[in-house]
């Protein structure tokens, strides 16, 4: 149930994103989802890709600082209140969300939410009991 997210250190300077995405493109790595945490001096690029191990190796050998982080992905109905009910389940169990980002499923009317929580196992347990659908690793990589 734990998905591997790629986190890349990106200094705030011209052409950096172009360089990273170009390396991924040249190595035939497909980006499934992404988000950026930005500060005044640098950003952290978070990526879900179809082959995280290969992406990590490729970026590392290009001299970048990269790490793989465990995150969880849930599928929720794409309608008002869909996200709220899922988040409520976590909040009731006192599970903090560090950050999250979402994208729509192109094939049906669900949305996917990627979440970084402090303790993945507790979150998975709470979400499962709360009736929230969790995505498997292979499902996310091959959306």
């Amino acid at each position: 149930m734990i998905i591997k997210q790629l986190s890349v250190f990106v200094e705030n300077k011209k052409g950096r994103m172009a360089e990273i995405t170009d390396i991924l493109a040249k190595n035939d790595i497909d980006i499934r989802a992404l988000s950026i945490a930005d500060t005044t001096d640098y950003g952290i690029l978070r990526l879900i890709v179809d082959n995280p191990q290969k992406a990590q190796e490729t970026l590392k050998s290009a001299g970048m600082t990269v790490t793989l982080t465990g995150v969880i992905a849930i599928a929720i109905p794409d309608k008002p209140g869909g996200l709220s009910s899922a988040v409520k389940v976590l909040s009731e169990k006192d599970i903090q969300i560090e950050y999250m980002y979402a994208f729509l499923n192109p094939t049906d009317d669900t949305a996917f939410v990627i979440m970084r929580v402090e303790n993945e196992d507790n979150a998975i347990d709470a979400l499962t009991k709360g009736g929230i659908r969790l995505m498997k690793e292979e499902d996310i990589y091959t959306i």
Binding site: Q5, S7, F9, V10, E11, A37, T39, D41, Y42, I44, R46, G63, M64, T65, V66, T67, T69, E98, Y99, R116
Partner: protein
Amino acid sequence: MKFYTQEIETASREQLREIQSERLCQMVKRCYENVPHYRRKFDEMGLKPEDIKSIDDLHKLPFTYKDDLRDNYPYNLFAVPKEEVVRIHASSGTTGKQTVVGYTQHDLDIWAESVARAIVAMGGSKSDYVHVSYGYGLFTGGLGLHDGATRLGASVIPVSSGNTKRQIQIMQDFKSDILCCTPSYAMFIGETCKEMGIDTKELPLKIGIFGAEAWSENMRREIEKSLNIKAYDIYGLSEIAGPGVAFECTDQSGMHVNEDYFYPEIIDPETGENLPDGEYGELVFTCIGKEALPLIRYRTRDICALTRGTCACGRTLVKMAKPKGRTDDMLIIRGVNVFPSQVEHVLLSLNMEPNYQIVVDRIGNLDTMEVKIEMSQDMFSDQVKAIAGYERKISAALQQTLNIAAKVTLVEPKSLPRSEGKAVRVIDNRKI
């Protein structure tokens, strides 16, 4: 072999003083007779060469400053006709003209002897392969170590600087025993070995002779670990000769000065008064053994201290401490004295690579100090708060050591300049 010139290196204080006094008197006479600059200075002070009777009279003599070399550019301080000059070197000045220095054959001989003493004191011998990665050319590093190792009878591999992978290939294939380069380049060679997947324990390399820039004890340990060698400091400046003016022995407890050729003093940089042994002040040299450019009381702007006594290695030559910094690379930020080596020290104490750059600016009327540090795999996290925590930890440690607040900026790995000579550590954008 323990000493290259045992009778000098283990001479008694009285014997050394006798040699020094005799050489000083001759040198002063030659300066007065052959160098208009010194004759004018002596005349202004009402000083005659005969007034200098022993090394104890040294304090009566005027100082020589880097500006005097610039004002007499290129050859006007030379004390011999050009027929006797056999070599010219120059150091790139950060401002204005280069500093030009000249050598007679005798000067090259004493310089080579000084370097040979250094190599032996560090455990080297004539059966070693000496890999010289200092630049060859006007810079004294390359040819200085080259001539010294040749004098000793070692096998010199004159690689010069640059092309790090090739350097490592040569170290492997040619079985280099001793590496000579700047300490920052030694660090870089260590990093490159790691990247190339080379286990440095497999290399024959055993000794490193590093100089030409300031480095700390922590950096020594880093280099010793990454290259699996003993790392020794060699001190020198082209105005006095080049590398080999002073050198560490295997005791690693200070650098023995070749004081029979280069006589050191420590002075208060403000008053010019001599300071007692053990006290830190500006290092001043008098080239008592040189012919072409015999500088009198040359102000090095290096801040250090001298200690006399018999070293564990058996040498009696006076020892100078590792310079704490230079009076001229000392930054004054918001009135606080900052040495770049302090930043290096902080990073190493936090187990970080000492790859940094200091950017000083003046915004409004306030000096700002930014320390750029390369992001490493250890520091990186997917969460901003973890990285920010690291930044705060570094800032706090810098504040503690420097007594001044510095903004820490994390930059991408390998993005800071690693020059293959001296690393560019400070960028001062202030217009004062």
